[in-house]
Symmetry: none
Amino acid sequence: MQLDKIVNYHKALADPARLRLLLLLSKGELHGQALAEKLNLSQPTVTHHAAKLREAALIKERREKNTVYFSLNPEFIYAGSEASLKFIFAKGAEELEQESPESSLKESVLRNFFAKDGHLRQIPAQYKKKLIALQHMAEQLEPGVIYSEKEINVFIQQFHEDYATIRREFIMHHFMYRENERYELNPPEMWTRWENVK
Amino acid sequence: MQLDKIVNYHKALADPARLRLLLLLSKGELHGQALAEKLNLSQPTVTHHAAKLREAALIKERREKNTVYFSLNPEFIYAGSEASLKFIFAKGAEELEQESPESSLKESVLRNFFAKDGHLRQIPAQYKKKLIALQHMAEQLEPGVIYSEKEINVFIQQFHEDYATIRREFIMHHFMYRENERYELNPPEMWTRWENVK
DNA sequence: GATATAATTAGATATATATCTAAACTATAT
DNA sequence: ATATAGTTTAGATATATATCTAATTATATC
C-alpha cells in the first residue's frame, strides 16, 4: 500500500543521526568509517542507519575495493516529501475527478485564466489548475538568479496583485527556494508537477 | 537546535494512524470520537496521536461545548516539509556547524537584557540584539495556537510594559502572523534570524 | 448539586529501534 | 595462504512509543 511507503519515508527521516548523515552526504559522498567518525557513532551503527536510508531509497552506495561509498539519492528525497503532501491533501485530488476531461488542460488554463496581456485574472482554486498557473509564471523567472523579496513581489505583480499568496505558493510547491529574504528558482525537477496530480 | 524540530516533524508523520488521521482532517474538521470510530481506535489513542500532531503544530483544535474539533494546520505541514529539504540540502549546513562562535552574543544578550525572573530590562537598540531578544520571547509562545490581541499583550507584558512596540516588532520581523486581531506564531524558518544579520 | 458526555491522564504491556561489543564476512595485499 | 582493512551480522540492552482499560477531569444540562 502507498501509506506504508510514506510512513517509511518519514521514519527514515525521524532520527537525528540519520538527518545529520544525510546532511554530511549532501556535501559529497563518504564511506562508512568517515561517517562513523563524523557522527561519533560506531561503524555498525552507521551500517544500521544506512540500511534504513537505503530501504527508503534515500541513499545510494558504490563499492570500491572493500570500501563502500554512500551518496544521496536526491530525487527520492524530494519525491517522498512531495508524495507525503499529496497524500495528506488528497482532497484536492478528488475535486479534480469531477473535472470534464480536457484535451489539453494546460492550454485551457492558460487561455481561461490569463488575459492576452499575460495578466492572471484570478488564482485557480483547483489544485491542478493552480499548479499550471504557477508553473507558467515560474517559467518566466531566470534560473540561477538570486532575487530579493521585493524583486519577486514586483515580478509577481505583473501577473496578479496578490503577490503574497503567489509568493507563498511558489515556496510551498518548490518552484522557488527561500532563505533570508533571498529567492532563487528551483530546478524544474523539484517543482510539484501538475501532470502527476491525479 | 533546529534539528530536533525537523526530527519531530517526521516523527509526527511516521505513523500510519496519524497519516490517516490527517487525511481525514483534510476533508474537514472532525471531533475525537468521530476520529476514533473512523480510525478504529480507542478515544485515548486518538488523544495520544492528536497530542503528537499538536506538538508538531500540524493540527489545530477548537472546543465547542465539551466536544473538541480538530482541523489541519496546512501552513505548518508545508513548512516542515520545506524546512526538512532545506536542512538536508545544506546551505543550512553552515548554520549547523557554527553555532558556538556566535552563541556567546546570544548568551550575553540574554544575560544583560533579561533579569533573572525573565523580565526584559530594556529593548535593545542595536538591531541584532533586538532580534535576539524578540526571538527569545517568541520561543515561549505555543506554535499553532491562535492568540487574541489581548492575550498577546498580556504575554508580552510579562517581559516588558511596552507591549505595543514589541507586538509590532513581532509582526515586522515575521515572528508572528496577524489577521483580524488574531495572532499566530510563524514557523521559525520565517523569522528574521539574528544569525544572518551582519 | 446531580448527571451525562466528551476528552484526557495514568498505568500497563507489547513492540520497535538506536546503540554498543563481539564475531563473521569480503575483498585486497603480502 | 595469511594478514589486513572495511563492512556487515548477531546478540544484548535500554529507551521510546502505540495501544488498551480504568480512572479522572472538564463542560454542559437538568
